[in-house]
C-alpha cells in the first residue's frame, strides 16, 4: 500500500513538476519579454528565440545525462584498471582480443546476427503474405504478434519448458524431447549441447521478433500498387512468381528497415541468455559477458566498459545509416 502511494505521489509530483516547469518558464518568458507595448515586435522575436529551448530543456538534460554522457564516460573508464584508479591505455582492449570468452562471445554474437534477423524477416514475410487475405487473418496475426508482449524472461521460462530434459525411458515433459523420442531418437539435454544450444536460444528471439517483422512487412505489402500485381497476373505469372518477382522487390526498403531494427535488438540480447544458460556451455554473448565483468564477483569496471564500448562500436554503422535515412526524408 505504501508503495502504491509512493508511485501515485511520484506520478503526481512528476507530472506536476513537468507542467509547472513548462508553464512557469513560458509565463516567466512572457513577463520578461512582454509581447505588447512599445518593443512588442522585438520582444516577440527574442522570446521566440528562447522558447524552443524551454520546451527542449528537460529532454536535452535527460538525453545528455542518461545517454550521451554514459557513452563518453564508458569510453574514458575503459582506459582505466578494474577500480578506475590507474590509467592503463588500451590494455583492456588488448586483453579482450586475447580472451577466450570474449572471442566466443563475438563468434556467438555474429551467429545471432546472421540467424535471428534472417529467420525473423523470412518468417515475418511468410506470415504477412499468408494471413493477408484470410478471413481469420487478423486473429492469426494477433497470435503471431503476441510474443512481442512477453518479456524475454517469460519467454525464457516458456522455452526452457519446451527444452526440458528427462532421462531416457522416463516420460518426457519437454515438447522437443517428446517429439524426438516419438520419432525414435534419444532425448538430449538441449541447453548444454554445444552449437545447438545457441541455435535453440536464437529460436526464442526469432519467436518474439517474427511478429514485429510481420506487422511492418504486412503494411508494406498492402502498400504495393495493385496495378503491378494485376499486370503480372494477366501476363500469366504464378502466385509464387508474383510474390518473389513483383512484391518482394518493391518492399526491399522496408525489409532493410526490419532487418536493421532486429539487428539492434540482437546485438543487445541479454535476458534470454542470462536466464536460460547464463553463458555456460559455449553460449556466451557480449551483453552477458559484460554483465559478468561488472556485477559478478569483484567488479572490473575497466573491462566491463571496454565490452560496452565494443557493443557501441558494433551498432554505430546502423546508427549512421539511420541518421542518413532520416535526414534524407526530412529534406
Amino acid at each position: 500500500m505504501e508503495l502504491l502511494w509512493l508511485a501515485v505521489s511520484t506520478i503526481a509530483i512528476g507530472v506536476f513538476g513537468c507542467v509547472a516547469w513548462f508553464w512557469g518558464s513560458n509565463w516567466l518568458l512572457d513577463r520578461i519579454f512582454p509581447p505588447r507595448g512599445g518593443k512588442a515586435g522585438d520582444n516577440i522575436r527574442r522570446a521566440n528565440q528562447i522558447r524552443p529551448w524551454l520546451f527542449l530543456g528537460p529532454a536535452i538534460l535527460f538525453l545528455g545525462t542518461y545517454l550521451v554522457y554514459p557513452v563518453l564516460d564508458s569510453f574514458w573508464r575503459s582506459l582505466f584498471n578494474a577500480n578506475g584508479t590507474r590509467f592503463v591505455g588500451a590494455d583492456n582492449y588488448v586483453w579482450l582480443v586475447n580472451d577466450a570468452k570474449f572471442r566466443e562471445s563475438m563468434v556467438n554474437n555474429m551467429m545471432w546476427l546472421l540467424v535471428v534477423p534472417a529467420l525473423s524477416t523470412v518468417f515475418g514475410l511468410i506470415a504477412a503474405q499468408l494471413t493477408d487475405r484470410l478471413k481469420w487473418g487478423n486473429i492469426g496475426k494477433s497470435l503471431i504478434f503476441m510474443p512481442m508482449a512477453i518479456s524475454f524472461v517469460g519467454a525464457g521460462v516458456i522455452w526452457k519448458f519446451i527444452y526440458e530434459y528427462r532421462a531416457s525411458g522416463e516420460t518426457q515433459i519437454g515438447l522437443l524431447n517428446w517429439i524426438v523420442t516419438q520419432l525414435g531418437g534419444e532425448p538430449q539435454i538441449w541447453l548444454t549441447l554445444p552449437v545447438w544450444n545457441n541455435l535453440l536460444l536464437m529460436i526464442v528471439l526469432v519467436w518474439i521478433q517474427t511478429g514485429f517483422a510481420m506487422v511492418i512487412l504486412s503494411a508494406a505489402l498492402r502498400g504495393i500498387p495493385e496495378e503491378t500485381i494485376e499486370a503480372a497476373i494477366l501476363d500469366g505469372a504464378s502466385p509464387l512468381q508474383v510474390f518473389f518477382k513483383i512484391k518482394v522487390p518493391q518492399i526491399m526498403g522496408t525489409i532493410a528497415v526490419v532487418w536493421t531494427t532486429i539487428t539492434i535488438v540482437v546485438l543487445k540480447v541479454f535476458d534470454i541468455v542470462f536466464v536460460m544458460t547464463n553463458g555456460q556451455w559455449g553460449t556466451q554473448v557480449l551483453a552477458n559477458l559484460m554483465y559478468d565483468w561488472m556485477f559478478r564477483g569483484t567488479p572490473d569496471y575497466g573491462r566491463g566498459s571496454a565490452i560496452a564500448i565494443v557493443l557501441m562500436i558494433l551498432v554505430t554503422p546502423i546508427m549512421v545509416w539511420n541518421i542518413y535515412n532520416a535526414r534524407k526524408e526530412v529534406r
Binding site: 542518461y66 545517454l67 503471431i144 504478434f145 512481442m148 508482449a149 531494427t261 535515412n325
Partner: protein, 377 residues
C-alpha cells in the same frame, strides 16, 4: 475454366492450412505454459502438458493390508481394500516388479500356498487364503492406472498468497507507471519544438535523437550507477524512474515528432495568427490531436519497462523486497528450476498484464511500430 477454379481453391486451401500451422507453431509455447499452470506438480512431472487432456497413465504399487486386517468369510481368510485412489481407473495390475501389468482388472492371481489375489475393475482387491494370514508386511500390488484429465487453480492460490509474487507485482507496478507517464510529457514538449518551432540546430538535434535510438543500454549502466551514487540517489525507485525516462526518451521524441510534423499546418498557423501563445497551442491543439501517437508510445514504454530485467537488476537491487516480477522469475528459475508448477504459474501471472494491454491496445501498438519504422526507411 473449371481447371483454374479448382487450382484456385486448392491454393486457398494450401494458404489456409499453412497459415494455420504457422499460427499454431507460434501459439503452442505459450499455450504449454498456460495449461501447465493449471496442473499440479505430480501431473507436470509425470506427463507432458499436451497429454493432460487425454488423462495420464501412472504405474506404481500399493501394499495390501496385513494379518491384523483379515476377516473370515465363508471359511476363507480375506484381506480387502482398494488398490487405486480417488478418480483413477485401473488399467492393468500385477504382483511383481518384473511384470507389473501381468493381469487385467477382474483377473485372479495365484500367489502360491493357497493364497490368491483378485483385483476388480473398480480397484478393490481381495486377498484370500485357506489358512489365517500371518504376514506383517502387505503384499505388493502393482497397478497401472489412468487419471482423468484434471486441472486445478491451486497453483494460483499458492503463488498469489505466498512466495513474494504479490510484492513483486506491486514493485513492478511502482516502477512501471511513473516510468511510463513522465517521459511522455517531457517528450511531447520536445517533439513539438522539433516539429513546429524554428531555431538553429533543429536538424542536428533531430539527427541526434535518431542516433540515440540505438545506443545500447549496457553502455549506460556503470556510469549511471556511479552518477546516482554520487548524487545520493543510490539504488531505488527514483533512480530507476529517472533511468527509464532517459532510456525511453529517444523513441518517445522520435515517434511524437514524426506524428506532429504530419498535423495540419493551417490549424497551428491560424492559432498563431489569432494570438495564441505556443503553450496554449501545445495544450489545446497539439496534445489532443496527438493522442494516437501518445498512446502508441505509452504502450511501448509500458511493455518495455514491465518486461525489463536488466535496468531493474542494476538500478533497483536484488533483495527479496526489491525484486520486480522479471527478477523474481529469474530467481525462481535458478533456485527452483524443478518446481515447474510454481514457475509456470508465476511466469503466466507476470505475462498476463502485458498480454492484456497488448490485446486491448493492439491497434495503437501497430500504428506506433509503423510510424517508427516504415517512415524511418
Amino acid at each position: 475454366m473449371e481447371g483454374m477454379a479448382g487450382q484456385k481453391s486448392s491454393l486457398a486451401w494450401a494458404v489456409n492450412i499453412s497459415a494455420f500451422l504457422l499460427v499454431l507453431l507460434w501459439t503452442i509455447p505459450t499455450l504449454g505454459l498456460f495449461v501447465s499452470s493449471f496442473r499440479d506438480r505430480d501431473q507436470i512431472s509425470t506427463s507432458g502438458w499436451w497429454q493432460s487432456f487425454s488423462g495420464s497413465e501412472q504405474t506404481g504399487f500399493v501394499r495390501s493390508g496385513v494379518a491384523g486386517d483379515q476377516i473370515q468369510q465363508d471359511g476363507l481368510y480375506v484381506i480387502e481394500g482398494s488398490a487405486v485412489q480417488g478418480t483413477q481407473a485401473l488399467k492393468a495390475w500385477g504382483t511383481g516388479a518384473r511384470n507389473p501389468a501381468e493381469y487385467q482388472p477382474g483377473d485372479t492371481a495365484d500367489l502360491g500356498d493357497g493364497i490368491s489375489l483378485t483385483v476388480a475393475e473398480d480397484g478393490a482387491y481381495r486377498l484370500t487364503s485357506a489358512q489365517p494370514f500371518e504376514i506383517t508386511r502387505g503384499e505388493r500390488i502393482f497397478t497401472t492406472t489412468v487419471s482423468p484429465p484434471s486441472f486445478t487453480t491451486e497453483n494460483y492460490n499458492r503463488v498469489l498468497t505466498a512466495g513474494g509474487l504479490g510484492r513483486a507485482f506491486m514493485n513492478t507496478m511502482t516502477v512501471t507507471i511513473p516510468a511510463t507517464v513522465i517521459p511522455i510529457l517531457i517528450a511531447a514538449f520536445a517533439a513539438y519544438a522539433l516539429a513546429w518551432m524554428q531555431f538553429p540546430g533543429r536538424a542536428l538535434l533531430t539527427a541526434c535523437v535518431v542516433g540515440l535510438l540505438v545506443v545500447p543500454l549496457q553502455v549506460a549502466l556503470i556510469p549511471l550507477l556511479r552518477l546516482h551514487n554520487e548524487l545520493g540517489i543510490g539504488k531505488g525507485y527514483l533512480g530507476i524512474w529517472l533511468a527509464h525516462t532517459g532510456f525511453g526518451l529517444p523513441l518517445a521524441v522520435y515517434l511524437l515528432r514524426n506524428y506532429m510534423v504530419g498535423l495540419p499546418r493551417e490549424v497551428i498557423e491560424s492559432a498563431r495568427v489569432d494570438g495564441a501563445t505556443e503553450f496554449q497551442i501545445f495544450r489545446r491543439i497539439i496534445l489532443p490531436l496527438s493522442f494516437p501517437a501518445l498512446a502508441s508510445f505509452a504502450i511501448f514504454q509500458f511493455l518495455w519497462v514491465w518486461n525489463d530485467l536488466l535496468v531493474a537488476t542494476v538500478f533497483l537491487g536484488n533483495t527479496r523486497e526489491q525484486l520486480v516480477m522479471t527478477g523474481l522469475l529469474r530467481e525462481l528459475m535458478g533456485s527452483r528450476g524443478g518446481e515447474w508448477e510454481i514457475l509456470a504459474t508465476s511466469a503466466f501471472i507476470s505475462i498476463a498484464v502485458p498480454l492484456l494491454v497488448f490485446f486491448a491496445m493492439q491497434k495503437y501498438l501497430v500504428r506506433g511500430l509503423l510510424a517508427g519504422s516504415v517512415k524511418g526507411g
